[in-house]
Symmetry: D2
Amino acid sequence: MIIVLKPNISKKQESTILKEIRKRGYKPHVMRGVARIVIGAIGDELTHQSLETLLTVFPQIVESVMPVQKRYKLVSREAHPQNSTVKVGNHVIGSKKFHVMAGPCSVESEKQLLTTAEAVKAAGATMLRGGAFKPRTSPYEFQGLGEKGLKLLAKARKLTGLPIITELLSENHAGMVADYADIIQIGARNSQNFQLLIAAAKTGRPILLKRGLSMKIEEWLLAGEYVLSEENCNLMFCERGIRTFETYTRNTLDLSTIPIIKKESHFPIVIDPSQGAGRADLVKAMCKGAVAMGADALLIEVHPNPAEAWSDGTQQVSLEVFAQLMQELRPLILASGRE
Amino acid sequence: MIIVLKPNISKKQESTILKEIRKRGYKPHVMRGVARIVIGAIGDELTHQSLETLLTVFPQIVESVMPVQKRYKLVSREAHPQNSTVKVGNHVIGSKKFHVMAGPCSVESEKQLLTTAEAVKAAGATMLRGGAFKPRTSPYEFQGLGEKGLKLLAKARKLTGLPIITELLSENHAGMVADYADIIQIGARNSQNFQLLIAAAKTGRPILLKRGLSMKIEEWLLAGEYVLSEENCNLMFCERGIRTFETYTRNTLDLSTIPIIKKESHFPIVIDPSQGAGRADLVKAMCKGAVAMGADALLIEVHPNPAEAWSDGTQQVSLEVFAQLMQELRPLILASGRE
Amino acid sequence: MIIVLKPNISKKQESTILKEIRKRGYKPHVMRGVARIVIGAIGDELTHQSLETLLTVFPQIVESVMPVQKRYKLVSREAHPQNSTVKVGNHVIGSKKFHVMAGPCSVESEKQLLTTAEAVKAAGATMLRGGAFKPRTSPYEFQGLGEKGLKLLAKARKLTGLPIITELLSENHAGMVADYADIIQIGARNSQNFQLLIAAAKTGRPILLKRGLSMKIEEWLLAGEYVLSEENCNLMFCERGIRTFETYTRNTLDLSTIPIIKKESHFPIVIDPSQGAGRADLVKAMCKGAVAMGADALLIEVHPNPAEAWSDGTQQVSLEVFAQLMQELRPLILASGRE
Amino acid sequence: MIIVLKPNISKKQESTILKEIRKRGYKPHVMRGVARIVIGAIGDELTHQSLETLLTVFPQIVESVMPVQKRYKLVSREAHPQNSTVKVGNHVIGSKKFHVMAGPCSVESEKQLLTTAEAVKAAGATMLRGGAFKPRTSPYEFQGLGEKGLKLLAKARKLTGLPIITELLSENHAGMVADYADIIQIGARNSQNFQLLIAAAKTGRPILLKRGLSMKIEEWLLAGEYVLSEENCNLMFCERGIRTFETYTRNTLDLSTIPIIKKESHFPIVIDPSQGAGRADLVKAMCKGAVAMGADALLIEVHPNPAEAWSDGTQQVSLEVFAQLMQELRPLILASGRE
């Protein structure tokens, strides 16, 4: 920790602070600068009590307190310099092969799901997404088919061989969802619902952790740290857009997370352009950017008839548009050195 | 719903859209404007399927789709023009009497809690706050004393007579927390954890619902709608700061929520300046603003020794500062026509 | 400056960095911590070249670089511990007396302006506001009456004795606006138009500097520093709302700027609730909060017939509402120890 | 305009509103819906007075007022369905050929500029960027070489044949900057400095208009409308990152502007990843995304020795990194169907 003192501090005030630093187990190291005194407090910030309270308790003496250590450990590339990959069935996410997870926002019916599953497989998708439990802003909106939806997903997997990814909403459903799903998705609204993260991690299933609507990258990495702390190392980060002042799009998809997650962490990064833009007409361009920037996979909402979707119809692309998108992505995937 | 068509639309395109509107159960009403055609779709937006997907499915024809109904019902002042109040023990929140809920961020020990409880009571607080389960950004930080903390809160209530408010973090703890707490707090990170909201509402205890870090007011009201849908009418909204670009404060306390919640809803509004500012030195001014603007209560973090607090020490005020704050608030409470 | 090195840095890498620090005129001071090496670079950050580029040039060695000095000087309370006041005619802003600047968004006609001027004076306002040059998002909107508007403002001053405040939009109009205005307003969109700030400051008139829509407090203080650098010490800061994700209000009025500006600077702080909320029905509550929190003045848009205003009608209050507001503010002004 | 009335409105209240609508020159069209009455006001919103004030003046009757027309005209793709291109010397921006504008943040010396110009030309850049007038947050920072910098840019153009782009900061310098520059840049802080936009447009030079830090896309298009209103049709939009809550990067580069500007407008879109990320280590990935998503050009900060740059050293890439980046972009440019 670095403690910056205010200008013109007396000897007595200085020693008050030095005493407080020592009391908390740190070794103070004083630097007398041109304008003010700066104290380095040497000690492990992760195991000692924070010194940030000095700012509040001695507001006449202390100007600012700055941590020097990063708060995340297991998730950090420092701790694990080579890339980590996540195995799902015969697939490996985070390897040279690029993956596309596609399917409807909500599972609505057997016909809707199976039609979509077969079409996305034919177009080249490697995994099937579909929501059985849906977090909806209003209690009056469709909340998902629940376990019936999970059973339909399992049926679609049997038919197509595509592994399935679906969202977990309640701690009490962790076991049930893990019984059906190949990947458990933690949604943006639950990205700091730590009890849910722990319950999901404990199932041992791979976890796709979406970024919260106003989650800083450091907080996202720390939420991943909750998964790793439960000894589940099958983690993927998924950017799906953050909330900003702009209202043209539903969210602002932050594609800079691709190089940042690659730099700070060793786990794969997945991009969800459907939630990110909230508009099907922007999905194609977003996917192209994500591929070129080095994402490991895409998560795309596809519906046989978006106009009649029971949820988020405006952001789902049709089967035809999806097939065309996959064609257009191919040259970019190759140009980016992926398969 | 209002559907705005693009300029220069053919007769055939117009009838395509009219057909789609009828198919979804709405009655279309065409207005030919100067620059473009606008269609009013008459029907109950809360029970019919949304027409917003027309925008995506017919991007060549439709320019925009705008809802005209508000999405919240039970929580709305339209549905209940007079103020609703919440009874807690002998106290009534939302009445003429102004309330102050005060206490430590986390319950740390019997001594810490009882000292604080007695001091805040002496200074004029009417309720005791204290966290037993703490949502922490990092898994390596103090997570709260759990049920032991709840027992200490109950002890403090017995001693001082102050009703207690504490946060619920897990669906599985809803019963346990309700056994001890007079008010259940739903924190900002869980404000759209609908499963938790439902579990909390079902206990029948009054619910204090904090605004999420990037929650729009409409979403906050709709989250309240989840509580009311479970037939729990003891709801309070609590503003605690939103996340903006500003880094001087931890969050930006949005005091405009006071007149807005009063206008849109019939439930009480509580202000939490401690989380809002994240800095004890700003808490006093924030409290004064909240009182003058018509808040029903304050939720303030108080600690006998903020420098040694196990969580969020920088935003907790000392017992002395709290007593002084209560003195300074009095003339403003009276000048605002409260008691 | 504090330079934090990455973990496991070699002796050779460490000396590379030490050499670079010395080359830029700082004296390095090495602290060997538990997890990593931290270097304090001693020297005046305002006169030396920044060391932040070390982060980019030696990304394998340097983890972060943190400044320890504040970047603003003349505007800072450190430089001038007692409050500064601004004299305008017989009035002193920043003194015990609370001020209200009121008037129309745009000057539209002699009748509109004089009616408003007399009404706001009768209700207790101490200064008259009115826009002659208007910054409008679209080139097709009313751009103000220009010099004709300034002449009308001068006439209203003659009639009522109220000093006038009006916005400067162009460097080329600085002289002309200064000839008529008692206070020159720099609007939110021009808050970092430094050439305009310099031109305004050079006229010697008091400057009211609005906060930009996404301006950090540090940047606002530094923009004020541009005014002071031109030896104009008649500066006022004016909060008028920042841009956030919330769409219920046009902007989010950040009332926490009142205690913050008071703490960091010695100049007065003025609150503009009209722009802040963008809705007349919220203006009253905002004004009350501002008074209770210690603002020095209010800037309020008032129009004899808001429904027919040529600009920003939704945020202007009527003469009746203004008179009523002034009545309601009185007890709060007294309760806050002001006059 | 669409006017939504509150529920349970009397006949008399309804006719009050109808009268007001007619008074402003619109023809009202009443639709009686299930929950409330909706009125379509037929008339040209760009030439008539806005009806939004009805919301404020009749708050008991009117619930909301929604415009149906877009506010921008000349800049809109509706007005000009095919792409517009901008000619600069022998180059055409917005055509099949992809362009790269590269050079230092600030012009510092003849040697620095000429070295950079020759290196970026050799690497494939088609234009030279360089700042002679610099908008700096603090008055104590380097403000640019002024006209001396412009002369050096002209010299570099003579030597390399690269057209030059440089920023205009003051209305008073419009003529001078136009004498030297091939493209005039309007910076983010001045994106709503309409007087500067008008002065720049009047020179007839192509204008590169950066997006403001918190500028909505509609506002950006309307700022472009100011340029077109001066009969200057050589307009380019340039995304350079918006301000959000995230602090890992200096700004959040919003790459979704590429498909959005292409959809809403007919003018070229340029991406500036240097300002966008504020970190040289992220520039490469950003450039790749921009190319794949269909940008027309890149604007990249390059410096022979970023560690010693006089401004924004952390975001400038070295000559070597730039040459390598250009190599890596080639396959993506081809895969995107550009040259």
